[in-house]
Symmetry: C2
Subunit: 515 residues, 2 copies
């Protein structure tokens, strides 16, 4: 079998094995007729389906749906759970012990191909053996049971933990990291760093705080609590705590009834698709948005310390912009001495076919701060300018400052991504998947509108006229798939998503569209 | 040996064993002369030193300091670490593998009695065998490597995880929990719940959001982003993210240069010690503070949705108030239809000799919300009123909504606290320790001022004229001890802190005072 495989797939298949016990059936190479059917369904030549050897040899070959979802066992469990937990946002009750690789099992043992992956936060598969190994290691044991207050009492191993893992993938030009707990936490700590940096520059290096500043800060009044802003973009999402929520502009349900800072926003480009048909219009749209940014930066009622932006707006509806737009944004922020914070919470760690999505932009100078979480299983922000370390101790500090247990998982994820070349793999699988979707979009233009994400790995989306119904129906054919914004279907498969999974996904989409 | 022990200590000694490998010497029962010396040093009759059988049989019998702190190995490590991590707040480089029970080892193998415990966040000792067991369990494995987006895809086990653990210790009158990542996160989610509840009452049950609200919220403007406030107390500490920091009033270094909400504060009682000498003055002080609360609640420029308070102000300087003060606070918040949020992030989980510090107050009705973190190893907020679940899905939501791995640790901590009766134990050890400190305070009144925390378990503090120097010198005699506020020495030992540890602590304090 292995001898028939080419290149990286062969190496991958050889290296991954699954030590966990699973009730899921042993994997079989996908049957040739299925292969042909899937390819045919997507109008793809069979020979473009290069290899089906799975990263997870024990993965099922197909989804398996035996009951409605939620099924009878899940319904009982949901009713019971609702007594102590808000189940109104519940999607599926999962059985993680019996999930594997790209396949998630629910409580009724329905097994679904998962291209939503815990809101884009599972990178290398359920019950990944490498994660299983680090989770069972002595390092993990001590990280779990002896949780340090890192800022005061770091373990001797902390330098190596940072250097050998989390910092080894620091975005180009950045070499420092501040670890945190979640995407919101990472963004808010980044905002705090930006504000302290802003005042440091204003105050002048070495200048002490004034007595008025020290006293007014205790009363939440200026000048100690200054009027400074973070600018974000319409439809952006940066989290749900008070500072991050003030920059979130995705949906009213995220924001209503919560007090917020009077911070500004600019329009994010609303590109028209297919891109090649709207080149001039899209260029004009991006230029208009950059002009709006400059307007805000120069005319807002208070200084703007930083601009925060997602490389691809995710929660808000999967909106993309060109590298040129981001280059111009970098230029305009530099022109006005405003920091650029790139929020890679959802885009980071490989899904766009680069380790960091902003690697696609070829910026002449790096962003000032890059935040991350989700697939990293931990969170934090990277920076390079040493002055972004505040000028005194205890200004950027909290009890835990992250979780070393979760950092160990990220470090293992990084090693697996490198060992299996998963970023390049995702770029290739993404292209394959995008091409299949483009074919479907030609065939069913009313059903797959504004297909986007070409060349962005598997970070692909389209608008669906009856999106919520579509997502629900996809479960009936064994695919767990998510939406974003008002009408987008967003694909967020894992980095171990392969072409044979893409075939199943394409086949399933067509099945639902036809039905 | 065991046959000479009485009561619970015997049971404890029998039940705990240490499976971890440790370079630390095997424990010996503390030597009789040491015992007598320690007791004598604190003017305590030897027979009140009831038993010395340690919870951790492998704990060292004494601290052991071989080098200056930081020692030569630590100094090298700190220099290396500083390249990638801000070490200005660093206290000790720790060797957690070689720490055990109440004793923390540093990188030079100095072994210190730890009464600071990772800023009050280690509950049942370093390398606790019960935590070691759960950290090695199949449940932990799946919680670590298959991290769920809990609000969408909870595991079938989640109901039981909540019910059998975290909810089994819900404060009296509260039966729901929302899990989070940190104390700041817990408080901010509680504030959001309070704001949504406030507007729900104003709007009327079942009334929809208006179009104006929906649109203005997206622009961070009222009425969608309303002007509402959380009231906190001077010297209070509730975290460092933007909403929580707006309620934090501990020190300027926590707040300066960070924009904040224009939210109000009232004075927290500044009691005089010893309490029995200032009964009338302290009553007047507390009444004045309650009057100030009422003034704020009725006259602030915008409605106050909730009051947040620590049972014992910790970070700000260890300030206590009487049960009467808190009863009056409950009454005044109810009178004005304002929620009472009790922040038990530092006081919770047993350290005050009750599981929750507010159990000391005998409130006629429970607080509306109680937040927790630190010793819980996870975080979140408890509530009882079903209307504190927002009226729609996705209003209180985020990707992870806590970390099931850390919740499993809390559940085990709860079981150990119950099995070993550690709350009652801490109440007793705290009384013993307080009495010893009271004797020292009489002997050295200039060195131990305003001793406080009587009847509050081991949650004890005093003011020291040269606090920072005192904390540093305590390391030379093998005690890791923390401060709070401007001048307080704060004791935050673990729940497994025993009388023989108290003797060592008392002896060490006297040694430093004498020197």
């Amino acid at each position: 079998m292995l001898s028939t495989l080419r290149g990286p797939s062969r190496a991958l298949a050889r290296k991954v094995s699954i030590p966990v016990t699973s009730k899921i059936q042993q994997a079989r190479p996908i049957h040739n007729t299925v292969r042909k059917h899937a390819a045919a369904a997507a109008n793809i030549a069979v020979d473009s389906v290069s290899s089906y050897e799975p990263f997870f040899p024990n993965e099922p070959s197909r989804p398996s749906v035996k009951t409605e979802i939620p099924g009878p066992k899940s319904k009982v469990a949901i009713t019971e759970l609702d007594e102590v937990f808000d189940t109104r946002s519940l999607n599926m009750i999962c059985d993680y012990e019996n999930s594997i690789g790209n396949y998630v099992s629910d409580h009724d043992h329905n097994v679904l191909l998962d291209v939503y992956a815990q809101i884009a936060s599972i990178p290398i598969g359920y019950n990944n053996p490498a994660l299983s190994a680090v989770a069972s290691s002595p390092e993990m044991l001590t990280a779990l049971i002896n949780r340090p207050a890192l800022g005061n009492f770091p373990p001797a191993s902390w330098m190596n933990t940072l250097k050998s893992g989390i910092l080894s993938v620091a975005p180009k030009g950045l070499n420092q990291v501040f670890t945190g707990m979640s995407g919101s936490d990472a963004n808010e700590c980044a905002y705090k760093a930006a504000f302290m940096y802003h005042r440091r520059k204003e105050r002048g290096e070495g200048a002490p705080f004034t007595e008025e500043e020290l006293q007014s800060a205790m009363n939440n009044q200026k000048p100690g609590s200054p009027e400074l802003a973070i600018m974000s973009f319409k439809k952006g999402f940066h989290g749900r705590l008070f500072g991050s929520l003030s920059t979130t502009r995705s949906k009213p349900i995220h924001k209503i009834d919560i007090p917020s800072f009077n911070w500004p926003q600019a329009r994010f480009p609303q590109l028209k698709y297919p891109l090649e048909e709207f080149v001039a219009e899209n260029q004009a749209e991006e230029a208009a948005c950059i002009a709006e940014v400059e307007e805000v930066l120069t005319k807002w009622h208070c200084p703007v310390s930083a601009v925060v932006i997602e490389p691809i707006q995710s929660e808000g509806g999967d909106f993309h912009a060109s590298p040129k737009f981001f280059q111009d944004l970098r230029a305009v922020t530099q022109k006005h001495n405003v920091l650029l914070i790139v929020d890679e919470v959802q885009t980071g760690v490989g899904a766009t076919g680069k380790f960091w999505a902003h690697d696609h932009w070829n910026l002449p100078s790096p962003p000032d701060i890059v935040t991350f979480s989700k697939k990293a299983q931990t969170a934090g922000y990277y920076f390079g300018n040493p002055q972004l370390r505040p000028n005194m101790a205890y200004r950027q500090f909290n009890t835990w400052m992250g979780d070393p247990a979760r950092v160990l998982l990220f470090n293992t994820i990084i090693k697996e991504v490198e060992r299996l070349n998963l970023v390049q793999h995702t770029a290739e699988t993404g292209d394959y998947l995008y091409n299949g979707l483009a074919e479907l979009s030609k065939k069913y233009p009313g059903e797959i509108q504004n297909l986007r994400g070409k060349g962005q790995g598997t970070f692909i989306a389209w608008d669906s006229p009856q999106r919520d119904a579509f997502l629900k129906k996809m479960k009936t054919v064994g695919v767990n798939i998510g939406g974003s914004g008002e009408s987008a279907v967003r694909l967020r498969p894992m980095l171990i998503f392969q072409k044979h999974h893409a075939d199943i996904l394409l086949e399933s989409i067509e099945k639902i569209i036809k039905a």
